[in-house]
């Protein structure tokens, strides 16, 4: 065998694990999910019956779907701007020259992102509870105290989870912003300083415009991630109380795994989610590109 033939033989072995993984665990499930979304699946008999677009039609008449969709949108559009603003501000401060122990702060802010979301959710159940730390703090400062606990009242449950999510995510996006900021050449700031620009002017005239690719990335990742919020909902509230924290993915999970015969409907919901995520990606990329 020539070297070339040996190499070709080796190449096949090298790429085979990925090809098998792709076919079995990604492509087949994706096609199967699409088929399921047009079918009625009965859990007991394990039968699949084709029913056309009924699942999709049903979604648009399902009140819980609209509730879950608006909850998800509220969660996403509430947390993403706040997380972005805070992480950007933290990054801007940490990036200034006079700050020492940068790596220490960076690591501490990042810590929640390395911790299991299940563990964090469990801790926050305690912090948000009736006898928890947050009520204690509210009492001291003189703010209204939650009667039954922040997660158990429909009008505070979602906002509580959103607050936790912002707390958890700022460190992660701060690191992304920091690495974006570090790629901006220093002499731009030097010449700005020479011409008398204040730090705030430098932020708005140099840092932010040059940070646009990072900003786009952060908005995109965070929106896509937030629209799929699930684990914190599952652990902390199970969608309750009164569907106040029911989100799209939680609804998909509940229909597929906790109700009988609803896997087809759940798959249709999953594809609706997929389409929404695609639209977001396209919109955000277009929106931030045309601004130049």
């Amino acid at each position: 065998m020539t070297v070339k033939q040996q190499q070709n033989k080796q190449t096949i072995i090298l790429i085979l694990p990925w090809i098998l993984t792709f076919l079995v665990f990604y492509l087949y499930p994706l096609i199967h999910a699409l088929v399921l979304s047009f079918s009625k699946y009965s859990t007991l008999t394990n039968e699949i019956k084709f029913i056309g677009v009924s699942n999709y039609k049903y979604a648009f008449t399902d009140k819980i779907f609209w509730k879950a969709l608006s909850n998800t949108a509220f969660f996403t559009f509430g947390t993403v701007p706040l997380t972005t603003a805070i992480s950007l501000a933290l990054a801007a401060v940490l990036n200034s020259k006079f700050i020492q122990y940068k790596n220490f702060f960076r690591a501490v802010y990042f810590l929640p992102s390395a911790t299991s979301l299940v563990v964090i959710s469990l801790i926050f159940i305690n912090l948000f509870s009736k006898t928890g730390y947050l009520n204690f703090l509210a009492l001291i400062v003189g703010l209204p105290v939650s009667q039954h606990g922040w997660l158990l009242e429909p009008n505070t449950s979602m906002i509580s989870i959103m607050a936790m999510d912002v707390w958890m995510a700022v460190g992660y996006y701060m690191v992304l912003f920091l690495s974006g900021m570090q790629s901006i050449p220093n002499d731009l700031y030097d010449s700005a300083r020479l011409s008398g620009a204040s730090p705030l002017q430098q932020l708005f005239r140099i840092t932010l415009p040059l940070l646009k690719p990072t900003l786009l990335l952060v908005l995109l990742i965070n929106t896509i991630k937030s629209f799929q919020v699930f684990i914190e909902i599952f652990v902390m509230t199970k969608g309750g109380p009164l569907n106040s924290t029911n989100t799209l993915v939680y609804m998909i999970y509940e229909n597929a795994f906790e109700k009988a015969d609803m896997m087809g409907y759940a798959s249709a919901l999953a594809f609706i989610l997929f389409v929404i995520l695609m639209i977001f990606s396209i919109l955000q990329i277009k929106f931030l590109r045309t601004e130049d």
Partner: protein, 271 residues
């Protein structure tokens, strides 16, 4: 200027304290023995310190097994990724073959598929394979990941080809070149990959939760959620369990802080 500096530092320290506080709170509760029903925060703070929560949790039911399961799953998936992502990443960086661009398209395509879209058919597949409640379901589908392939490919592209060619002229076989020359040179990227995969699989919840329904096979992240009672929650033991699951990561984080941050964020930056 000095006042401004002080204000900025105070803000930074308050933010840092708020990041650490929940973890501190978890540890504090885990070392406290308090009555099953307590009416206020003062009772917790006054309650005596104890280590019995940890001892009882580790000896209870399957908790010891959860820990072992988490280690087995996270290690097996990490080793798999080190080998298979390295294989595919190397092939993409160094070889030309028919269908290469199609292969790259499959990797990029998979990155944009939300896992929640395929969780239902994947679950049905595991049922069909009879893999529910087995390590196979927790390990096999995740042995090679698109992110890992790209990470390795990008890194190998920066290595000079000449070293491999020189070895070839010296008569080294393909596999020897791969394992004895390219792998050691790729150590920085492989380290980032290993830490990233271990961490995400240790913390992984969704699929380990869906693919198990017996207690003995659960991982820590999954097992912990079953400790949430309906009426009253036994916080001492629950927080001891949460600490047992979080402490290994905290230790890893203190040691490999830079690599962990690099690994967890490079997934975003490489796209």
């Amino acid at each position: 200027m000095i006042i401004k500096k002080i204000i900025v530092y105070i803000i930074l320290f308050i933010a840092a304290a708020s990041m650490v506080f929940p973890m501190f709170w978890m540890l504090l509760l885990s070392f406290k023995s308090f009555p099953e029903k307590y009416s206020g925060l003062y009772e917790i703070i006054k309650a005596p310190f104890t280590s019995s929560n940890y001892i009882e949790t580790l000896n209870s039911d399957s908790f010891g097994l959860y820990f072992i399961n988490s280690i087995i799953v996270a290690l097996a998936v990490t080793i798999g990724n080190l080998i298979f992502c390295f294989f595919t990443g190397y092939a993409l960086a160094r070889r030309d073959f028919r269908g290469k661009s199609l292969l790259i398209a499959t990797i990029l395509g998979v990155m944009i598929i939300p896992s929640h879209v395929i969780m239902i058919p994947l679950y049905r597949l595991m049922v069909a394979f009879d893999w529910i409640n087995s390590y196979f379901a927790l390990i096999v589908p995740w042995l090679v990941t698109p992110f890992g392939i790209f990470l390795i490919r990008q890194f190998i592209l920066t290595l000079p080809k000449e070293i491999e060619e020189a070895a070839r002229i010296d008569g080294a076989g393909q596999w020897k070149i791969l394992f004895k020359i390219v792998a050691p040179l790729s150590k920085p990227a492989l380290t980032v990959l290993a830490i990233y995969i271990f961490l995400t699989n240790w913390n992984s919840f969704l699929f380990p939760f869906l693919f198990t329904n017996e207690s003995d096979i659960r991982t820590l992240a999954v097992g912990l959620t079953f400790y949430l009672g309906k009426q009253s929650i036994d916080w001492g033991h629950l927080m001891a369990g949460a600490s047992i699951s979080a402490i290994p990561i905290l230790i890893l984080f203190v040691i490999f802080q830079k690599k962990i941050i690099q690994g967890l964020t490079s997934g975003a930056l490489k796209e």
